[in-house]
């Protein structure tokens, strides 16, 4: 089943399936997602939402099927081959606790520089951009604090800032607003939506709030917990 019909997909999943133990988390997943689409991934805890994102990121080999990523020139790549252009917001943020917010954000640009360049620091322009993004997310006064000295919400925004600085083709955000208040949730999802609509960057975002899904997503990919690998994709009709 082809879920999203498109002439030029950005991400294509072909018969994607993942087993955990003797249970299928998802199976027979076929997707053609056009560039610049915001897809909300929903479902109860433990159904395989994070595992699905890990498959898209090339961090977890699927049990069956495969994922193809197409660049702007139409060339096909395996997910693991284009990690530099995949921005991941991990569920547990995966920030370096003994490094500053600014340095953590700058890590989003590591894939663009050789190791010896980042050994002597990041270019001035990138430091300025990182600072601007942190200011946008309300962290301008805390850029030089260690991550371990900040709150959970601030750490989550730092992880989002790292992905934004990366300017990836594909965002994979695993519950990126779980620690944020209503205002910041709207702000972060608005930025991601803008990234998709205006810059043609595809977003897969795990969300639990139905209202947010309806407000920001264009498609909803839902998994259920029956254990037979069932999934469903639907288009969101914005009023």
């Amino acid at each position: 089943m082809t879920a999203v019909a498109t002439p030029l997909p950005h991400i294509a999943a072909r018969g994607l399936g993942l087993m955990r133990g003797d249970r299928w988390l998802f199976r027979g997943l076929d997707l053609d997602v056009p560039r610049g689409t915001f897809v909300a991934v929903v479902g109860p805890s433990g159904v395989g939402k994070s595992s699905f994102l890990a498959c898209l990121a090339g961090l977890l080999p699927p049990s069956e099927g495969h994922v193809e990523l197409y660049d702007r020139a139409g060339r096909c790549h395996a997910p693991a081959a284009v990690r530099g252009s995949t921005g991941v917001v991990f569920q547990n943020n995966l920030l370096v606790p003994t490094s500053t917010l600014l340095n953590n954000v700058l890590c989003g640009r590591l894939g663009r520089h050789p190791w010896w360049r980042t050994l002597i620091g990041f270019p001035r322009a990138e430091r300025e951009t990182a600072y601007r993004i942190l200011c946008d997310l309300g962290l301008g006064t805390k850029v030089n604090r260690w991550v371990c000295e900040t709150s959970g919400g601030e750490q989550q925004r730092t992880a989002i800032a790292r992905a934004l600085l990366q300017e990836p083709d594909l965002y994979l955000a695993d519950e990126p607003v779980s620690n944020l208040d209503a205002y910041l949730t709207g702000r972060v999802l608005g930025i991601l939506r803008q990234e998709a609509a205006q810059r043609g960057r595809t977003v897969f975002c795990v969300l639990h709030n139905a209202e947010l899904v309806e407000r920001f997503a264009e498609f909803v990919l839902s998994f259920d917990s029956a254990g037979d690998g069932a999934w469903k994709l639907r288009k969101v009709s914005h009023a």
């Binding site: 995949t86 894939g111 190791w115």
Partner: protein, 293 residues
């Protein structure tokens, strides 16, 4: 041979014949641990230590001659007082030289121990490299600092450089081990996360492992500087420069009051460093505690 009693037939309050079903069952009694359950690593090693103490009692025999131990101690310590402070200029100069030896040796040791520490960390290196690095470090650690200093004297002659060489080797053995432990204590999930967003292996270490290990590494370095200052004061006994040369000279000519002055200087230096190191390590530990919580 009769079969072992099954749990159901074992005597107990719930299964005993006198149990009245109308009464609530008695709570189970706490069983005493069996003798072999007490044999944990702590208890066994404690037992071994006590046995070793008994076996080592002959070391307390001494020479076997009738000696006035307390009198000897009193007389010997009496030689130290009052300390002859007139030697302070050359003591201060030797103290400076001792500090220079310690600092240079620690600096060189850091440079050599860092790659060895990475090689010896199980989370960063393949098993064969870990084994080779750890064996090298163990080998270095088995040689005392005084012997390393002797080797240094044999290479470059009796001067402070010999002390630097000797203490460098000695420190590499310890710092390499400490650095390995520090790197292994880092949560590798963060480095893997950076790899997932495009960082190379070296970059993942540089930004995902090093910042996390750095406070611990620095704490070990501070400890090593303190340790090397103490060691640098002794290695002069074999001609490797610093306060030890002075100590050896004063001892040879029984100038114990001058000897006492040198000891006084060492005491002041080591105490000051101890306080400073403790303060810095305390601050680092407080930050790390926040990281872990």
């Amino acid at each position: 041979m009769s079969p072992p009693p099954s749990p159901a037939s074992a005597p107990g309050p719930a299964s005993g014949p006198a149990h009245n079903p109308s009464l609530p069952p008695e709570p189970p009694r706490l069983p005493d641990p069996r003798w072999y359950e007490r044999l944990n690593v702590l208890n066994v090693s404690l037992l071994l230590f006590l046995l070793a103490c008994f076996a080592s009692a002959p070391a307390l025999r001494g020479s076997g001659r009738e000696l006035d131990y307390a009198g000897n101690l009193k007389r010997f310590l009496g030689y130290f007082f009052p300390p002859d402070l007139s030697v302070w200029p050359e003591t201060l100069r030797a103290l400076g030289e001792t500090a220079q030896i310690a600092v240079m040796a620690t600096a060189f040791a850091i440079v050599i121990a860092l790659p060895l520490g990475v090689a010896g960390a199980r989370t960063l290196s393949p098993a064969w490299l870990v084994g080779a690095a750890r064996m090298t470090l163990n080998g270095i650690r088995t040689v005392p600092s005084l012997i390393w200093a002797l080797i240094g004297v044999a290479i470059v002659g009796a001067n402070p450089l010999a002390g630097v060489i000797g203490l460098t080797f000695y420190s590499v053995g310890y710092l390499g081990k400490f650095f390995s432990d520090a790197f292994e204590s880092v949560d590798m999930e963060i480095a893997r996360g950076l790899r997932a967003i495009g960082a190379g292996r070296i970059q993942a270490f540089q930004h995902g492992v090093w910042p996390h290990a750095k406070p611990l590494v620095w704490s070990y370095v501070l400890w090593m500087i303190e340790y090397n200052l103490r060691s640098a004061a002794i290695i002069g006994y074999v001609g490797a420069g610093g306060l030890g040369v002075q100590l050896a000279g004063y001892q040879e000519y029984y100038q114990w009051e001058k000897f006492a002055t040198v000891l006084l200087f060492i005491l002041v230096l080591v105490t000051a460093l101890d306080f400073l190191g403790e303060w810095i390590r305390g601050r680092i530990t407080r930050k790390l505690t926040r990281v872990r919580s």
